[in-house]
Amino acid sequence: MTLTPDKPKAKARKLSMKERYSALTRDLDWDPSYVPADEMFPYTTFEGIKIHDWSKWEDPFRLTVDAYTKYQAEKDRRLYAVLDGFAQSQGHLSLTDASYLNAMKLFLQGVSPLEYQAHRNFAYLSRHLNGPGPRFASLCQSLDEIRHAQTEIHTLSNYNKYYSGFHSYLHMHDRVWYLSVPKSFFDDALSAGPFEFLIAIGFSFEYLLTNLLFVPFMSGASFNGDLPTMTFGFSAQSDESRHMTLGLEAIKFLLEQDPDNVPIVQHWIDKWFWRGYRVTALVAQMLDYMLPRKVMSWKEAFELYFEQQMLGGLFQDLAYYGIKPPRDVGKAIQEKEHLSHQAYWILYQFSHAAAFTTSVPSDETLDWLEEQYPDTFPTYRALWDKEKKNVANGGRHFVRGLPQLCQVCQIPMGFTEADSPFTICQRSVVFEGERYNFCSDGCQNIFEHEPVKFRQAWLPVHQIYQGNCGGADLGDVMQWYGMQPGDGGEYLGSPDHQNWLRWHAQADHSELGED
């Protein structure tokens, strides 16, 4: 039998938004008493980070499960509607050029698997951090990351149906030489402890370098008629801004908890800036060379998103905690007018062993590059002029040997000295009787801090020589990589190029009349 309601009680004070959020998230936590705390949280002491009070973590956003699922479901409904419409209308034909998709091949092969890795390791944080605030924030990010992996795959899946190079991106990510650059970067983060991961991915990747790593692909998409990828980019934006606030809160929290944390965090910033910066070499060449319609030059992006926003903004704030700009940042600045040219030159010569194509830049691109890089590009232009002659004589240049790789970043050792841009930089260290090679002081420093870790690196060239990659000749290795005819090499005359021309010639433009 139901009772009639009591007289309304004295009106209780309602919860504020902050209190309500707290009641729904961090208040769910309790201190275990039937098992020891270090058994409950076994991974948060070995890195030397000292946390005295987890409750001091300021929740970077206040999103509960009901609000999260509502917003995200709505966003995905709109995104998938765009994907379906684009596929149905053969939208790929309105890209600027089929060669644009080289940027997206690199993205699907090199970046989407990283989103997935982030998903798995934010799940680790959502279990293994002691504080309920950061655990819940990590849980949301873990879900966002699988969203990004899946929506990227679904976005690019349509291109895979019509173009080469996309079909075996997962198999390739774990095997192909240039993809070991991003893979080893993320494996490094996953094999680190939870706090280093927070600084490596939460802070360095998602905050410090996100505008140089992730955004250029999305901007490139919008400039080149790639509506699905652009829509994905916009759709990911609100997730990304949550991730940025999480990264920023993470670093502040660690720095405020104990002064002893400062040198540890400083080292991680030094390390992960350089690790991330080296990965951006792939992005730099994409921006300057792979986009038929340019967004901005690498140099301009670096100056705006890194020098102005990070060095001029963020690091001024972090100075309060005694944090200095990353150790090797000066070298990155010195290199900014060289990086993309050197990176593309390497990829150009090795693209017969890659799942994207390259070509001598068009005259229009060469002119644009010269405008963007008046001090340095003339020298690189001379290389391309020479290569144009080779091509005209039927001798398009591919390197047939295997390059030496940097032990840390795993990029072929083709970068030059930062202060002497036409001398190849080579460093080496002997550790326990073995010699290890590096492309830069930055990579050497990272090795010297953790030689036992970095000597384990799965270096694609070493692996080929050890016979672990399908066989001794290039054909065997390509088969082991999962390459199919037309995936790599020269763009002009490639299956993608030929199909593109054929499809456009087929299109019925008679309604437009002559001319």
């Binding site: 039998m1 139901t2 309601p5 009591d6 009680k9 209780a12 004070r13 309602k14 919860l15 209190e19 009641a23 208040d27 769910l28 275990p32 008493s33 098992v35 991974y43 509960t64 499960v65 009901d66 699922t69 509502k70 995200q72 479901a73 995905d76 409904r77 053969q90 997935y116 798995r120 390791n121 799940a123 680790y124 959502s126 279990r127 655990r135 849980l139 873990s142 879900l143 992996a149 929506t151 679904h154 895979n160 149906k161 019509y162 173009y163 080469s164 079909h167 075996s168 774990d174 893979k183 080893s184 494996d187 996953l190 094999s191 680190a192 402890g193 939870p194 692996q463 199909n499 499809w503």
Partner: protein, 341 residues
């Protein structure tokens, strides 16, 4: 004679129907978005570094659990959940719960609960939100350490579901407390101190420290099966008979969720048992783990049932016996027989 509406589109024959790993696995046919977004996503080879926090195993390894599948993708989520359908389904769940809560508030139905049922809700049901929060952590552990994306994806969504359940109970608690967190604060003290809840808390903490993600999930699931039957099936029924319909209105959302949880988990038990390579070992492990976990759940929930009986006299002790027996039968139906201890 009819005139057709004729829209001309350029027909371009695709070069391939889907990604190569799906063609290799399923043949040359178009793949679903679930398949493209799930199958083979986790790396299985050429890891660069051993974890600093546990160098015995690789970043991903089948050896993080005794329960193994020779091919983890022999298992697929029967719900076909990738992110988009998952969040859509949960947006609906939480919206429908919000409608219930709105109705309960508008009609002052929490205040109209019989006193005994008010006490039951405050002292037995609300504290279980902490159990749900722990279930998130156990599930997140599986989402990190499981082998193969079909399984870890289910675990990841289950983790989010559990914190969602904790929030659902908490929102009911805030409403029940007249818009304050008082009843939640009281429930937390009970979770930490009440004799009737300590065995469950102990079991929860012991489950949390299980490093083997598979065993951790099984232990949690066995406890879930018994607890959900008791709280959200048996007491739901008793509430309707006892004039506490608003309890039923809340609990329907949890029992509805649990039916969904059973779909993927029961399919996983079947896959474990049927595995051509590890099936026999899995079965032995499962029989042992389920038997232990069932006994532990029985012991842990006994005082909770007694307390519920003390408050509402709804035959919970007997219902617990039944729930344990039904769970045992459920596992037997999956091929996992356990001796009654």
């Amino acid at each position: 004679m009819t005139v057709q509406f004729e829209l001309r589109t350029q027909v371009i024959e695709p070069q391939r129907k889907t990604f190569q790993h799906l063609v290799d696995r399923y043949g040359d046919r178009p793949a679903s978005r679930y398949e493209e977004g799930t199958i083979d996503l986790q790396a299985t080879a050429n890891y660069h570094f051993r974890p600093l926090w546990g160098p015995e195993l690789d970043i991903y390894s089948p050896d993080y659990s005794l329960l193994k599948l020779a091919d983890p993708y022999s298992y697929v989520d029967p719900r076909g959940f990738y992110y988009a359908p998952y969040v859509t389904s949960r947006a609906d769940l939480h919206e429908s719960f919000a409608a219930t809560l709105g109705y309960l508030e508008k009609r002052g139905l929490f205040d109209r609960l019989p006193e005994a049922w008010r006490a039951l809700f405050a002292e037995v049901v609300l504290p279980v939100r902490h159990y749900e929060a722990a279930a998130q952590m156990v599930s997140s552990h599986a989402a990190r350490f499981g082998w193969g994306t079909t399984i870890t994806q289910c675990a990841a969504y289950a983790a989010f579901d559990r914190i969602g359940n904790a929030q659902l109970l908490s929102r009911a608690g805030i409403s029940f407390g007249g818009g304050t967190a008082d009843s939640l604060a009281d429930a937390k003290v009970r979770w930490l101190e009440d004799d009737a809840l300590q065995p469950l808390r102990r079991l929860t903490e012991e489950t949390l420290v299980e490093r083997d993600w598979g065993l951790g999930m099984v232990r949690l699931d066995v406890t879930d099966q018994v607890l959900y039957q008791l709280l959200y099936t048996h007491l739901d029924d008793a509430a309707i008979t006892g004039g506490a319909g608003s309890y039923s209105l809340v609990s329907q959302h949890l029992s509805g969720w649990f039916a969904d949880q059973r779909r993927w988990f029961d399919a996983l038990y079947k896959a474990w048992v049927a595995d051509p390579e590890h099936g026999a070992d899995n079965l032995a492990t499962l029989r042992r783990t389920v038997a232990d976990a069932l006994a532990a759940a029985d012991t842990a929930l006994r005082p909770l049932a007694a307390k519920a009986d003390e408050l509402v006299g709804a035959g919970c002790a007997a219902a617990l016996d039944q729930a344990v027996a039904a769970t045992r039968t459920h596992f037997a139906d999956l091929g996992i027989t356990t001796e009654e201890s």
